[in-house]
Symmetry: C3
Subunit: 260 residues, 3 copies
């Protein structure tokens, strides 16, 4: 599993550039069990890259959607009763059908019940957990430095993707550092959720979860920088980042990526 | 009920142009029992044409909203428990109060439970069922060609409005074909749902459900073409189509409509 | 509590200008129990002014969010089962933790059950109730003129903030009249909800609920006017008002406010 740092550094932007073309060519189905605040934006982000999103949260039917999906996102942003039940079903069906999935444990730092639920879900086969520093600290009990991330990923056997000024992505051995992005991204709700959705999309077309996670966050970060160039504020920026993802090609991604 | 094709051809764009003015003059109330992904966009589409949307999904109070509405949309996009209960209430109250309604059986091709529910709902008085080819095939058991649509509409006694490259609208006798629209419409989530909402709005001001359905899809298709002219991608397009609907007048609609 | 009219007139725009800077400096946490139509737009409006929104509607965990919030919004726009339960919890926890809150009794004029619930909630410690004329009449039993507003606010011991062509804000003694705003604001769903959220944000940084309410509506009205200048319709306007709030500074607010 170990890849020497020099090799991974050169490889990641190239892989992200390939994945963006692969998403458009294959149009994977991505089921998103996500919060009501994020549903619309998440669906539009996925559509902009050629994916087919589905968003049902009903425990009665999420199973059939997950079984036929190419990847799954579970986001805990609005943690209502039906979504909790649906998450249990989704994780079980994903395991049975080998559908790879991403967990986005939104705001676990604010609610112990949510943190316990996220912990338990993550142990049931999440390939990637994407979160911010406060969420990481709540789940791992450590502050979100590079070493803690690597230890936690190695111990839990999933990829940890930390969003921040610089995103860090590790599988417990390899560490990618993504310096793309723009401050306006923190001013649009559901931007982190969108990053998790892009990681799920990449998991559908890339077997290496670490590369998939790094690619998803690179796409979003580069699109954010391009979008910010013409934006007047977070309102126009939210539309512009969808446009930027839609127009993003491998060549531009390769040129703009600041991944090491 | 039979109208010779030549007559209907000339009539439909004219009728759509009248209906857009009528919507603005009367401002009908349209209740939308729709999925969480689509709620915001649907409400804004209706507001852009002068309608008053209401969106509650609570079984406890949807009855009073439907009873006072001028039309109803039932969309199955996120098929959660409360929405299923509310749909039962809404359909019953609509029948009692003669409120005409549209069914949008989103993704019935993905879930047998959803398909059965849609089938049963549609038999309880839907005036229009708007769907895509995969959804049509699931409900009717036939592939979505012109003859199958006409047969199904005649058998079921509702108007079938099929979205696709060219939209087809039939009541089992007459068939309208609407060649307006733009590929970016498929890249914005809830665009089909918005079409269904516009059909519901037109049902509120036009007694002939076939003409209403054709008019609603013509408005959306023309607005989509106008919006695409200045859009940079699906993000700016989503805002621009709302603007285009808001600025659309009968004259422009008549000039741009490609309806036969 | 009485402030002579001349004094309050000069003071309010100045206070609103100070509050907008204070919001950005302090970044208060605002918990929003709001309807699914409004959640995304509301979160983005709060983010644009530097606040940290949280939006969970789960009765099981809303308590911990409210306890740590600096202000709370309860909006009844989609009045489903879980939100009603969560509202009970939120109001109780807000009282225990002295978290000030705003009630937005959306559409109480359409549903008696909703009106009764709103009435009962408002008596449990709401600091501000923001509504339109029809909603006011339903709750108070009087038409929404200045005198009725003052009487109702004095009797109920909360601030009444009436949205309309001119907004009126009264605590039963003082009356502020805000002439800012633009007709396009009525063409974007959840704009009223956004006004209520801004009032909640201002309550987090201003002890005088009347000044907070007037400031919140002034910010939104001024941003609406600025946004309308470049908008092509309600779609581009919805993005532009977020941009305008993001770029709004105290000086501009002071220059543009028409508050007496």
């Amino acid at each position: 599993m170990h890849v020497p740092p020099q090799q991974s550094r050169g490889e990641l932007p190239q892989r992200a550039a390939e994945l963006i073309e692969r998403l458009r060519a294959r149009g994977p189905r991505v089921h998103c069990l996500t919060n009501a605040v994020a549903q619309n934006f998440t669906a539009n982000v996925l559509l902009s890259l050629g994916c087919t999103p589905s968003m049902t949260i009903s425990p009665a039917e999420i199973g059939v959607f997950v079984a036929r999906a190419d990847a799954l996102l579970i986001n805990l942003g609005t943690f209502d009763r039906e979504r909790r039940e649906a998450a249990e079903v989704a994780v079980m069906i994903a395991a049975q059908n080998n559908v790879r999935w991403v967990l986005d444990p939104v705001f676990v730092d604010r609610s112990a019940a949510r943190a316990a639920f996220a912990q338990s879900l993550s142990e049931r086969g999440a390939r990637v957990v994407r979160l911010n520093a406060a969420e990481f600290s709540t789940l791992s009990g450590r502050s979100a430095d590079r070493e803690a991330l690597v230890d936690y990923a190695a111990f839990r056997h999933f990829v940890v993707a930390l969003s921040g000024k610089t995103d860090l992505v590790t599988d417990g051995v390899r560490v990618a550092s993504i310096a793309n992005g723009h401050p306006l991204m923190a001013k649009v709700t559901a931007m982190g959720c969108a990053g998790s959705a892009l990681i799920a999309a990449c998991l559908a077309v890339e077997a290496d979860a670490w590369r998939a996670a790094a690619a998803g966050l690179t796409m979003l970060g580069v699109a954010g920088e391009l979008a910010a160039r013409g934006a007047q504020g977070p309102g126009s920026f939210a539309a512009a980042i969808i446009d930027a993802l839609y127009n993003l090609d491998g060549e531009t991604l390769l040129r703009e990526a600041r991944v090491t």
